[in-house]
Amino acid sequence: MISKSDDTNNSSSESLGSMERAVMQDEQVQDVHAQLMREKEEPVEGFSPVPIVLMFFFAALCFWGGVYLVEHSGGYRWDAYSPDFDPTADAPKPVEISLFDRGAKIYRNQCAQCHQASGNGVAGVYPPLVASSWVTGHPEVVARILINGLNGPMIVNGKSYNGNMPAFGPGGLGLKEKDIAGVITYIRQEWGNAAPEMSEQMIAEYSSKYNSRSTPWSSNELKQDLGPIPEAVPTDDNTLDAEETAEL
C-alpha cells in the first residue's frame, strides 16, 4: 500500500505553499486519493489494422444488400406491397387503337389536303374516295396506289381526273405498314363506304410484293395482274362476338 511517511514527498512539496502541504499530508485526504491513484490511465486506442477477411465479408454483405433491394423493392412504387412484385410483368400495355382510328388520324394529316376531309376530292384533279370502286373494290388496287403512287388520267364515277398521287411506301413518304393499313381501312369504311378492312397482314404481303417497284402506277396498270382477294381474317372482336352470340 501507499506509504504515508512524510519523508517520501519532502522534496517535491517544497514548491507548494504550506497550506497545500498541510492538506496533502492529511491522512483522510490520502485515503481518498488512494482510490484515485489506484485508477488506471484514461483509456486510449491501439491501431491494429482491420482483418482483411472482414473487409471481404462486409463487401459480400453489401453486395447481397444491393441484390436483395433490386429483387424485392417492387420498383420503388408506392402501391407495391408484395415482396415478389415484379414491376415489369405488370406494366400497363400500350393502348391498342383500332386500324380505323389510326387511319383517321393519318388521313387528316396526310390526305385531307387533296382528297378533302369529306373525301370528295377536288374536281378535275383529286378524285373522290366516296363511293369510288377504286377504293372499295379489290384491296390490291388501293394498296398499290398507296405504296407506289399514281400518275396520269383516271376516270372515277364517270368523271375524269388528272393529278399526282405520291407514293407512301418506303420508296416514297415512308409511312409504316400499320399506318398504310389504317388509312386504307379508314377510306374503305368512312363516308358510307362499306368495304372490308385492310389488315396489317394483307398490307405486309402487298408491301413485300411492291416495295421494290420504283415507278408510280397508271390507271390502266392498276387493274392488271391482281391476285385473289384474301379472305378476311376474323379479328379477336369477331370471335368474341361469335362466342357471345353462341351463348345467347
Binding site: P43, S48, F58, L61, H72
Partner: protein
C-alpha cells in the same frame, strides 16, 4: 510500490490528470447520485410492474380487482418506467460522467443539471401515473399522455446539453470512441423523440406513415439511444479497468459509422407483412442485416481488448457485468438481424419471441453494462468502496440467470407458438394454452431478476448512507478472497 512513486497530484502529468478527474467527479457528484437514485427507484418500480404483467399473462385472474392493475396499463407502465425511468436516468448518470471525464471538462452549472433531472423525473412520474390512470395513448413506446411529454422533452434538453457543452470545452486533441457515441446519442434521442411526438401525437400524419414513424422511433430508442450509450460505457470501462488500450481505432471508426448509417433504417422490419410500400420494408430488412457489420466489428474490438485477461475480468464486478453485456450485444444483434429476414419473421412476428428479443437487448446487453458502469462510478463519486461483495455476487447471478431463463423461455416458446400459428390445423386457443408453461418460466425468471435488483439496491443505499463509515476501507471490493486481494491492483 516503486521508489519514485509520489502521491502529490501535481508532480507528474498522469497524476495531474487524475487530480483533474477528481475535480470533474466532484462537479457532477450531486446530479449523478440523484440520477442513480432515481434510476434505481424506477428499476424497482418497473420490476414490480413487470412481475404483475408476467404473472397476469398466465394467470389472468391475478390482482384484477383494480382497473389500474389491468394488464394493458401495467405492461405499458413497466415499459415506460424501464425505458425512460431506469435506462434514461442511468444514461444521464453514467453517460454524462464518462463524457465529462473524457473531455476533462467539469460540469459548469451543476445546479441546472440537477434541477433538470428533478423535472425529468417529475414529468415521468406524472406520465406513468397517467398511464395507470387510463390516460395512455394507443401508440407503443409513446404511451405517456400528452400532458407529460413536453416537460420530458424540455427537461431532456437541459440535461443532454451538458454533455454537448463538455464536448465543446474538451481538452486534448484526440476524441475517444466513447465520446463519439455519447455525443451522437445526445443528438439522436431528442431528434427521435420530438419527431415521433409531433408526427404521431401532436400533428398526426396520415395513415400508415404513423406506423412507420412509430417503429422508426421505437426501434431507434434501442439502437440510437440505449445502444450507443452502453457501447460508450463498455469502451470506457474495459480499457480503464484493465489498463490496456482498446484493440483498434480503425475498428472503432468502422463500428461507429456503420451503426450511424444503418440503424436508423432498421425499425421498419417490424412492419413486415403490413400495408407499407414494399421497398421501405425491404430497405429496413437490408439495413437490419447490415447491422451485422458494426456488431462484428465491436465484438472483435472488445474481445481482442480483453484477450488473455479473463481472470481480471471475472474478478472485477464492473467488468463481469460489462463483458456479460458485451457478449449479449453480439448475440442479440445477430439474432435480431436474422429476425428481420422475411422467412424468419413470418414465424417470430406476433409471438413471445419478439418479447424475449427485446429483453435480451435492453436487459442482457444494455442494463448489464450500465450495472457495471454504476459499480465503477459510485466509488469514485462517494469516495468509498462497495460495502458487500456478496451482494454484488447475488446481483450478478440473479440478473444473469434470470435474463438467461427469460430469453430462452420466451424465444423457444415463441418459436413454437409461431410454428403453431402458421399451422391452420391447430385451434387458436390451443396455441394460447401451449404458451402457458413458457410464460410461467418467465415469471420464475422475474423472481431471479427481482432478487438481483434488491441486492443491488440494498448495496447501493447501504453505501450511500454509510459512506463515512466505509471510507477507511482499503482497496476495491472484488470477487476474491481477502488474502488474494492484496496482490491484485485494480
Amino acid at each position: 510500490m516503486p521508489e519514485s512513486y509520489n502521491y502529490n497530484p501535481y508532480s507528474s502529468p498522469s497524476d495531474a490528470v487524475k487530480a483533474e478527474l477528481s475535480e470533474i467527479d466532484a462537479s457532477i457528484r450531486a446530479a449523478a447520485i440523484f440520477f442513480v437514485i432515481s434510476a434505481i427507484g424506477w428499476l424497482m418500480l418497473g420490476t414490480v410492474f413487470a412481475l404483475l404483467a408476467a404473472v397476469k399473462s398466465h394467470s389472468p385472474d391475478f390482482a384484477d380487482a383494480y382497473e389500474f392493475l389491468t394488464f394493458g396499463r401495467v405492461r405499458s407502465a413497466h415499459l415506460n418506467a424501464m425505458a425512460l425511468g431506469w435506462a434514461s436516468n442511468i444514461i444521464f448518470a453514467v453517460g454524462l460522467w464518462i463524457m465529462a471525464r473524457l473531455c476533462r471538462a467539469p460540469i459548469q452549472h451543476k445546479g441546472i443539471l440537477l434541477i433538470a433531472g428533478i423535472f425529468w423525473n417529475i414529468g415521468l412520474t406524472v406520465g406513468v401515473f397517467g398511464i395507470l390512470g387510463g390516460d395512455m395513448t394507443s401508440v407503443e413506446w409513446l404511451e405517456i399522455p400528452r400532458y407529460a411529454t413536453p416537460l420530458l422533452a424540455f427537461s431532456y434538453t437541459l440535461i443532454g446539453v451538458w454533455g454537448v457543452i463538455a464536448f465543446r470545452f474538451r481538452k486534448g486533441d484526440h476524441v475517444y470512441v466513447s465520446q463519439w457515441y455519447i455525443l451522437a446519442a445526445l443528438f439522436w434521442f431528442p431528434w427521435l423523440y420530438i419527431v415521433a411526438q409531433v408526427m404521431i401525437i401532436w400533428f398526426p400524419v396520415r395513415g400508415v406513415v404513423q406506423s412507420v414513424t412509430n417503429w422508426w422511433f421505437a426501434h431507434n430508442v434501442l439502437g440510437l439511444w440505449f445502444t450507443p450509450m452502453a457501447l460508450a460505457t463498455a469502451y470506457y470501462l474495459i480499457p480503464k479497468v484493465l489498463g490496456r488500450p482498446i484493440y483498434s481505432y480503425y475498428l472503432s471508426v468502422l463500428g461507429f459509422w456503420s451503426l450511424a448509417i444503418f440503424y436508423n433504417w432498421a425499425g421498419i422490419h417490424h412492419l413486415i407483412g403490413g400495408p407499407i410500400p414494399v421497398w421501405l420494408i425491404s430497405a429496413g430488412i437490408v439495413a437490419s442485416v447490415m447491422m451485422v457489420i458494426p456488431v462484428i466489428v465491436v465484438g472483435i474490438n472488445h474481445h481482442m481488448s480483453i484477450l488473455g485477461m479473463h481472470k481480471q475480468v471475472w474478478r472485477s464486478p464492473t467488468l463481469r457485468f460489462v463483458v456479460f453485456g458485451a457478449i449479449s450485444y453480439t448475440l442479440v444483434s445477430l439474432i435480431g438481424s436474422s429476425m428481420a429476414l422475411r422467412t424468419v419473421n413470418e414465424i417470430t412476428h406476433f409471438t413471445h419471441f419478439t418479447v424475449g428479443h427485446a429483453h435480451h437487448g435492453v436487459y442482457a446487453f444494455f442494463t448489464m453494462i450500465m450495472f457495471g458502469g454504476v459499480y465503477y462510478m459510485m466509488p469514485r463519486l462517494l469516495k468509498c468502496e462497495w460495502p458487500s461483495a456478496g451482494l454484488i455476487k447475488l446481483h450478478f447471478w440473479g440478473s444473469a440467470i434470470g435474463i438467461t431463463i427469460m430469453v430462452v423461455a420466451l424465444q423457444v416458446g415463441g418459436w413454437i407458438q409461431g410454428m403453431e400459428i402458421k399451422n391452420a390445423e391447430i385451434p387458436f386457443l390451443e396455441i394460447v394454452q401451449n404458451t402457458i408453461p413458457w410464460l410461467k418460466a418467465r415469471s420464475v425468471s422475474g423472481i431471479f431478476l427481482t432478487a438481483g435488483h434488491c441486492a443491488f439496491a440494498l448495496n447501493f443505499f447501504w453505501m450511500l448512507f454509510a459512506a463515512g463509515a466505509l471510507r477507511a476501507k482499503e482497496g476495491p471490493t472484488l470477487f476474491v478472497n481477502k488474502e488474494k486481494e492484496n496482490s491484485l491492483v485494480l
